[in-house]
Symmetry: C2
Subunit: 281 residues, 2 copies
């Protein structure tokens, strides 16, 4: 019997994965959470029918969402992650000795539980002493907290279902307010290359740019996301990702990474014309 | 009725396209040639069940295979294209005023005929006065010709069927011999990111490096190829793609491109760690 997984919003083009086994399917308060064992790409975490992480290539997404801001900021001691319940971003963030404390605000406790049980490669840092897990709505959290952060990473799912508010101007404004005066926000901003755009990417950038003085897009190649081109917004109050790159700290840390390196840090901000025109045109 | 196209060699992971209409299917002497009208990604050229070009994103592949070598070489007057029967590479090459003559060696006349009729966006330069079309085997052509080229572009299909010899050391050696002493060869080298690897990518690089003194990989993001990450070998006798980049000519030419720009020219040679390790490790 051949079992193939297809994303639930795929209308005219997309990726399919051959599945060996369904490891978990359950309904949380917010969404359907599923884990599949693929034939040769490891395990697949799926929320409401959309691929969140695939063991085969999740390193690309998680390294790039974490290390680009953390190696731009000279002292990213306090980090906030909104979403990120699959643990991949936390795993990368806590690798930095300079990071003292990480707050993770995930709306859906089930995602964390399922990750811990079925995706240990992703969930390996959930027991880090630096980590504080808050189960709750990230939008409410940034509205209400008194804490101030050096770096905020918005690692939400696609803008359908519970994550839709994570792409709004008011949310980005609250993030801005919760950042210290030299803070950096990075947010996943979908693909600019897919005909089945889940959201109008230029609108996300308009929203962020109403709030932050300097916002740029950077790109990572993630094989298991549609088109393979995934984008992130780098929104900064003070530090420039190229000029202020902490190359020295990068060399000293020297932990093993599969995607990110000092040259990628700069090259990822170089955009093909059609992408540049799409967000700046 | 829903009609979906899936690549014929897809075993466990891949792309699918929803099809509005089958425009052409025919058997040539070498392969099955098909053109489909997709629902919203334009037309799809398929050879032996493998996607060659999709109107939606073919610009990425064709601009990157053509302009990277042509803007490295200071005077690429004579260009040879092996394969490239879909016309996309020729279309980009003849944009350069400095290019005086282009030889295109395509083994399968049917591909050119079908492209002319069904894919005019790709085939728009087949009537260029600079172009000489040779119907024949590229492997034999580079063995036998007396001509010498500034740039050779190997734009063959995947290494199954008629194109398999285009990845061999002996073919690359013949290309080397047909290049002038400061010549450049660029070849498409599949994706380093796909579990369904059609060929052992490191072996391709070993083969080229036995012949050329300097061979590097560069990358383009092509949405309609598996993983979205497509690689090219830049094999050069003399010119360095970064140090010898003809930025001045690039600025003067100023034709409209959708993917390539002067910054991409440099950034495309920056590889994620896993890709660097894959070919150099």
């Amino acid at each position: 019997m051949d079992l193939w997984f297809t994303e639930s919003d795929m209308k005219t083009y997309g990726l399919v994965f051959k599945i060996k086994k369904t490891l978990y399917v359950g309904k949380s308060k917010y969404q359907t959470v599923a884990v599949f064992e693929t034939v040769d790409m490891g395990r697949l975490l799926v929320l409401d029918g959309l691929v969140m992480s695939c063991e085969y290539d999740e390193f690309a997404y998680h390294e790039m969402i974490a290390h680009v801001p953390l190696y731009t900021h000279p002292s990213p001691e306090n980090v906030l992650i909104i979403g990120g319940g699959d643990g991949g971003t936390v795993r990368e963030v806590v690798k930095h000795d300079i990071v003292k404390s990480v707050d993770l605000v995930e709306i859906d406790e089930e995602v964390i539980k399922v990750t811990k049980e079925y995706l240990p490669v992703l969930g390996s840092a959930f027991d880090s002493p630096k980590l504080n897990i808050h189960i709750g709505d990230g939008i409410e959290y940034v509205k209400d907290t008194d804490k101030r952060y050096d770096v905020i990473i918005v690692d939400g799912s696609d803008p359908v279902g519970p994550a839709v508010g994570l792409f709004s101007e008011s949310f980005y404004r609250d993030c801005y307010e919760r950042l210290k005066e030299d803070g950096i926000m990075v947010a996943q901003t979908e693909t600019p290359y897919d005909v089945n755009l889940r959201v109008h990417v230029p609108q996300i950038y308009k929203n962020i740019r109403k709030v932050f003085p300097d916002t740029r897009m950077y790109i990572a190649n993630v094989a298991c996301y549609p088109s393979g081109m995934w984008s992130f917004a780098f929104a900064t109050k003070k530090y420039d990702p190229i000029k202020d790159f902490q190359g020295v700290r990068y060399e000293k840390d020297g932990f093993k990474l599969k995607y990110y390196n000092d040259q990628i840090h700069k090259a990822c901000f170089i955009l093909p014309n059609f992408v540049r025109d799409f967000i700046d045109g």
